[in-house]
């Protein structure tokens, strides 16, 4: 009984909003007003953050390694693009949700394929699904516009009130609000008993099954939710750039996404958000140094991260904040290392 209450108490404690989290979102909000000339790249970061959040749900919490997460991003992107292009649903928010739903349906259907087999099979199946969709999009170029992409997308004002402007201000705040709402939802999910059972599955599927967790059902559920998130990220991409082309399905997109998440750290939700900021900064930095060959340095960063070890790297990064917090608050390890990477 005592163990149970202990576990319950620590779970509740973890679920509470910490000082650091509130500060994080305040900083984000301040950034939105301090850099008014940077809306385009900040929108990009927000989109990427949402996409990474989606991968974190399945990789960080459920331990599913996916190499084809761009599949859902692409479905969301094309969904939103087609809806707007043919004037089926002109209101962006509803179109966003519908496009997300489309990705969600695909996620639900493919989840049955993904939960079978071990890591390697999962890698291959997720990669295969993304490639399959890319091939399909290329095949039916009369619908998708082929390599040129969907052209002439015109977005209607959000809720009929806020028109998308040239500088991307509306687009940025729109994306940021979507990210924040979905983040709240994700936070609720991962701190619920459902989320805790996912962590149990990630740490040991056999043991989780033995204590009565329906492993496959839980994995299907979280995979479906993650697909919804990725679809929303894709739809945001189309809506804020008025563009959708074949490269939304590209392997590089899925691979970059992994790097984003790994930079930020898996399994504590903020990893994707921090990773997105750092990744985009790195990319900007590298492309100003070598416009054509920035991929080399991105690759080097990946290799170094893996060789140094992800857990060790995060300890180094968190050493200073922890020291400061320990000195000020007299507590130990206020900012914790994300527990057990996938």
């Amino acid at each position: 009984m005592t163990v149970q209450t202990d576990v319950g108490r620590s779970a509740i404690q973890h679920a509470r909003w910490h000082m650091g989290e509130i500060v994080f979102w305040l900083v984000v909000l301040v950034c939105a007003f301090v850099f008014p000339s940077r809306y385009l790249i900040m929108t990009d970061i927000v989109r990427l953050a949402l996409f990474a959040l989606s991968l974190d749900l399945i990789l960080g919490y459920a331990g599913i390694v996916s190499l084809g997460h761009a599949a859902f991003f692409g479905v969301g992107a094309y969904g939103a693009g087609l809806l707007a292009l043919h004037g089926l649903i002109t209101e962006p928010v509803i179109a966003l949700v519908v496009a997300g739903m489309a990705a969600m349906v695909l996620g639900f259907l493919t989840s049955f394929l993904v939960i079978r087999g071990a890591d390697l099979t999962r890698l291959m199946v997720t990669l295969g699904i993304a490639l399959l969709l890319e091939a399909l999009a290329e095949r039916y170029s009369n619908i998708t516009g082929g390599t040129d992409g969907l052209q002439g997308i015109e977005m209607q004002p959000i809720l009929g009130l806020f028109a998308f402007d040239m500088f991307g201000k509306t687009g940025f705040f729109y994306s940021l609000i979507v990210l924040f709402l979905l983040f709240l939802l994700a936070r609720r999910i991962v701190h619920s008993p459902f989320g805790l059972s996912l962590r149990a599955i990630r740490n040991n599927p056999l043991r989780a099954a033995a204590i009565g967790i329906p492993v496959n059902k839980r994995l299907i559920a979280i995979y479906t939710v993650a697909a919804f998130y990725a679809g929303i990220a894709g739809a945001l991409f189309t809506q804020t750039t008025a563009l959708a082309s074949l490269d939304v399905f590209a392997f590089e997109r899925s691979a970059d996404l992994m790097l984003v998440l790994v930079i930020g750290g898996t399994g504590y939700l903020y990893g994707g958000l921090i990773g997105a900021v750092v990744f985009r900064m790195l990319q900007e930095l590298f492309s100003t140094i070598t416009p054509q060959y920035w991929q080399f340095w991105i690759g080097l960063v990946l290799v170094v991260i893996v060789l140094v070890g992800r857990a060790r790297l995060h300890r180094w990064v968190l050493w200073l904040p922890n020291l400061v917090i320990a000195q000020l608050g007299g507590r130990k390890d206020a900012v914790v290392v994300p527990e057990g990477d996938a």
Partner: protein
Amino acid sequence: MTSVLTNLFDGVAYGMLLFVLACGLAVTLGLMNFVNLAHGAFAMAGGYVCAVLVNRSGWPFFAGLPLAFISAALIGALLERLLYRHLYTRSHLDQVLFSVGLVFMSVAAVDYIMGSSRVFINIPSVLEGQFDVFGVGIGRYRLMIIVICGVLTALLQLILARTRFGSRLRAAVDDPRAASGLGINVPQVFAFTFAFGCGLAGLGGALSAEILGLDPYFPLKFMIYFLIVVTVGGSSSITGPFLASLLLGIADVAGKYYVPKMGPFVIYTVMIVILIWRPNGLFGRVAAR
């Protein structure tokens, strides 16, 4: 009818080539359980070495091929000793990240050094064109590929099954602890095998410049093909990957010929179906490692 046979012939040549390219991966991924997505990078290295030697330094084509093998094997051995061996025991996620990083680096590096356009290797005039056997068009270059790859496959099978090194490798793969207890230097066996696999990939890369096309994006474009060969073929013997690559080669050529627009679609669908149906590969053993 004759076009069917010609396609079959081309498919077999393509499949043989895929086997030589991918059989190194069959060992690292299938036997050592290391997810190496960067295998194509070694093939590309071999291909470019051969291209530089033949086109710029004027070496004969048949002298460039062994050099492609040796250089790719050396690069493989170097990387294995420096980097790869630290990652054998890591999670699959780490291995994926690491090898994707290597792919990105190799793509950008080759783009920087050699330029981004497709590279052709000057092949001797003996190998150009095709001749007819009972009305079936046989490409000389493809015939050479079939001969070379066929001989290599037979050699590999012999080495694995009959030599002392082959039995050491099989022992090291089946149970590394017991094997090292018997005095087998397991890391050395793995390093040698890894380098040899990279060498074969390099040779395959040099041979494939004519058929698959050689450009800096080679590792990304064909990564999925190598993975298909290994995962569909299974890892119990080299027969599995061999049959899988023949199937893949024939299916791909036929797909491109008869249903030009649905080609890749068919391949990926078949791959997913097979993986769902038999997660350990078509010819894999049932026991999961």
